[in-house]
């Protein structure tokens, strides 16, 4: 029951963090000049966005500057003329009720994904989130599968060739710029796969559609019906899972194959941190007294490392998984942009330049944050479960 108290506390701590992050985004937004908001909301039409205009423009005598009624009307419409804390409260209310505004259909993000009318940001995020989650899961699996054994090895064989090799490998991954690695890998993959062979329409706008992106055959006539107009799939929205649910093993395999490459790039880029941590925690554990006890008991060395040290160092490692997660998910915009993988990262990448779509930018950021926080909580609960000192109070 101590465990439950712990879990509930952990979940309660979620809210201040989320609110804090929202406050940060609010601070940034309210620091922007008012014009930005006007343009973002009403599009770049002919409406004069300046508070003072020549009097003639507003049909008043004299040649001085007069207040621009349209401007103030729009400002009032957006509630930007209210005191800051009222705006904050409003912002909080909207954010917490998942009312994150709509996609600005003038922005190039909208055009990139052919979002014609202004759709709620949350809806779009709902479409794109599953891809990011699948990618994250895949990369996390790869990272752990590599880092845990390798880290233990390099701890046991400290400063010996295997240790050095493991470190060089992982650090090189850290040191290679993600965009560079991703692009080259993709380039190589395209070459190896015999270049670009469009499957159903050759005049695709984005070259890399043919390799990296999902769904595998965009705008194809023979696209299965459970893939919607946009990239959302039914019923769950997770492409692989849906493909399996519909028994379409080819597409399932296809989607995994297409996520494999970006996942590998991400894993390669972020395995270093956790490997280093596994190694160090293992080194510490191996110096502890109970390891000596185990040896004195006559436990064979392999068992000492795997059972006695391994479990302990794993427990320690679990504690940093959350941070690792926060680390590598930050790289998603770039990777998803390169591989043109329809995830939240791509959404973000498309919505920042040349004209920003603030709805999407802040929406995606918030979403990433929530992912990280939730991951952290899950990790903590896992740790609490693994370690009797926490589990039993």
């Amino acid at each position: 029951m101590r465990m439950w108290v712990y879990v509930v506390r952990r979940i309660l701590l979620l809210f201040p963090v989320i609110i804090g992050v929202m406050t940060i985004t609010f601070a940034i937004l309210s620091a922007l000049p008012i014009q930005t908001h006007l343009i973002a909301t009403f599009g770049a039409s002919k409406i004069p966005y300046t508070p003072m205009v020549p009097c003639s423009d507003v049909g008043q005598p004299g040649n001085g500057q007069c207040r621009n009624p349209t401007y103030f009307q729009l400002v009032h419409q957006l509630g930007l003329d209210q005191p800051i804390w009222v705006q904050w409260a409003e912002y909080m209310k909207n954010s917490l009720t998942l009312n994150w505004g709509t996609v600005n259909y003038h922005s190039n993000a909208a055009s990139a994904f052919s979002l014609t009318t202004s759709i709620p940001v949350t809806t779009v995020l709902g479409w794109y989130l599953p891809y990011t989650l699948e990618l994250a899961a895949l990369s996390l699996i790869i990272i752990l599968a590599v880092a845990l054994p390798l880290g233990n090895y390099s701890a046991v064989y400290r400063n010996r060739p295997i240790d050095q090799a493991a470190r060089v490998m992982s650090f090189s991954g850290f040191a290679l710029p993600g965009f560079l690695l991703a692009t080259l890998v993709l380039f190589a993959a395209v070459i190896l796969s015999g270049g670009a062979t469009p499957t159903c329409n050759s005049n695709s706008t984005h070259y890399f559609d043919w390799y990296g992106s999902w769904p595998p055959f965009p705008q194809c006539a023979n696209q299965p019906t459970w893939i919607g107009t946009y990239i959302q799939t039914s019923p769950t929205g997770f492409p692989t899972i849906d493909a399996i649910l519909h028994g379409d093993w080819f597409l399932a395999g296809e989607s995994v194959r297409r996520m494999l490459l970006p996942a590998l790039v991400i894993a390669y880029g972020s395995v270093a941190g956790i490997l280093r941590f596994v190694r160090n925690s293992m080194l510490e554990v191996l110096n502890l007294d109970f390891i000596r006890t185990a040896r004195a008991k006559g436990v064979p060395e392999t068992a000492v490392v795997s059972r006695h040290a391994g479990r302990n160092s794993l427990n320690v490692t679990v504690t940093v998984l959350g941070l690792t997660f926060a680390g590598f998910i930050g790289g998603f915009p770039i990777i998803e942009d390169v591989f043109y993988l329809h995830g939240v990262g791509l959404l973000l990448a498309k919505s920042i330049q040349p004209t920003q779509d603030f709805g999407l930018i802040f929406g995606t950021t918030l979403l990433f944050t929530i992912i990280v926080v939730v991951a952290n909580i899950l990790v903590d609960i896992l740790y609490a479960y693994l370690d009797p000192r926490v589990r039993l109070g």
């Binding site: 201040p16 963090v17 804090g20 992050v21 940060i24 985004t25 940034i28 937004l29 620091a31 922007l32 000049p33 400063n159 050095q164 470190r167 060089v168 650090f171 090189s172 850290f174 040191a175 290679l176 710029p177 965009f179 560079l180 692009t183 380039f187 395209v190 270049g195 984005h206 070259y207 270093a272 280093r276 160090n280 080194l283 510490e284 110096n287 941070l323 997660f325 926060a326 680390g327 590598f328 998910i329 930050g330 915009p333 770039i334 942009d337 973000l348 990448a349 920042i352 330049q353 040349p354 920003q356 603030f358 930018i361 950021t365 990433f368 944050t369 992912i371 990280v372 926080v373 952290n376």
Partner: protein, 368 residues
């Protein structure tokens, strides 16, 4: 009676000298760390050199650059052109017009910038080739070393100092101070990776003009993102140091919080900061590159000499090249990617080795 005080031979050892020697010894047992140290030092030297080289105060010189026609032809678009048959060049960086197929080498201008063959610095030709903006990559890297290292150092050092102060206070004071600071830190920590930088820059890039403004924005954004990591690390270490008896001893003889923090706690909590610091210095050019790659115009000019920017631009250029031309017929401008990429990579990885070695050398638990 009062004894005579005889300082030992060879002057008084400074506090920390012994520590440093020890650290270096343990560092020296780690080959990778030594390699890393060497490369980092090399880069620092280059940066200093570039500050005093003529490049530092003049703007980058444009060279002739290759343009790739859709039909596989390669053109050399000069900055100022003249007919080679009619006398010498009117100006230093004027080249004769030239056009031909790939592999054909013209009489006066060779295409070393295509093959990246080594040429003496300052010769008319461009060793290491140029980027798509006609600028020598070599010059860019040289000039960029100062920028990159400068930016990275500024960000990391200021982030670390903020973190040090906040972390030390939080750890030493404990209680509500600790709670407040750490909750605040958690909020920032939970925004993943560079997204906060990205958001800040994305929001304000449009309104900040000029080199100084942009730099301020960039560095500011990074600092806002960076300090929480250090705060957390320092606090963790301070919580350990705080319990040491010598802290209590100096409190017992009436020392105030300020003295205890400065004399005892901070000096004894520094080592993890060093490790993290050395790591992050390497990470920053990568992150800058990422921002550029996503298409931020964070620098006043698209060919701004900063390592991350250079590599990002070249990669972006590669993408556009591949998209624009029929695959296979293009000349693959590998030098544009290799040299900046290699620089960033080397810097980051050497710094990694160094910091890993430092950790092993400084951490008493790992020291054997």
């Amino acid at each position: 009676m009062t004894p005579v005080i005889v300082p030992p031979k060879g002057g008084r050892p400074r506090p920390g000298i012994a520590q440093l020697k020890r650290t270096l010894y343990f560092l020296s047992r780690n080959t990778l760390a030594i390699i890393g140290l060497a490369i980092v030092l090399f880069f620092v030297v280059v940066a200093l050199f570039s500050l005093f080289s003529p490049l530092s105060n003049q703007s980058l010189q444009q060279y002739c650059s290759v343009t790739y026609g859709t039909n596989g032809t390669v053109g050399c678009q000069p900055v100022c052109t003249y007919d080679a048959s009619s006398g010498p060049a009117p100006a230093a960086n004027c080249y004769p017009t030239y056009s031909g197929n790939v592999g054909f080498v013209g009489p006066t201008v060779d295409l070393t910038h295509l093959t990246g063959g080594p040429l003496p610095l300052g010769s008319m030709q461009v060793s290491s080739g140029t980027n798509q903006y006609y600028y020598s990559i070599y010059d860019g890297l040289l000039k960029g070393s100062a920028w990159s290292l400068g930016i990275a150092a500024t960000i990391v050092l200021s982030g670390a100092s903020i973190g040090l102060v906040l972390g030390a206070i939080a750890g030493y004071r404990g209680g509500y101070t600790d709670e407040v600071i750490m909750r605040f830190t958690d909020i920032f920590l939970s925004i993943p990776g560079i997204l906060l930088v990205l958001v800040i820059v994305a929001s304000f890039a449009g309104y900040v003009q000029g080199l100084e403004g942009r730099m301020l924005l960039l560095v500011g954004a990074f600092i806002i993102t960076w300090w929480p990591f250090y705060t957390r690390i320092v606090r963790g270490q301070v919580l350990v140091t705080r319990e040491q008896k010598y802290v209590e001893a100096s409190r017992a003889s009436g020392a105030g919080t300020g003295r205890i923090l400065t004399k005892h706690i901070i000096p004894n909590s520094l080592y993890p900061v060093f490790v993290q610091l050395s790591l992050d210095v390497g990470a920053i050019p990568l992150l800058l590159g990422g921002l550029i790659f996503l298409g931020f115009q964070i620098y006043p000019s698209p060919y701004f000499p900063e390592w991350g920017a250079m590599s990002a631009n070249s990669v972006a250029n590669l993408q556009s090249l591949i998209e624009s031309c029929q695959f296979g017929a293009c000349v693959f401008p590998w030098w544009q990617i290799l040299f900046p990429g290699l620089t960033v990579f080397l810097f980051a990885i050497s710094v990694n080795f160094l910091s890993d070695g430092l950790r092993d050398a400084l951490d008493p638990r790992l020291r054997r």
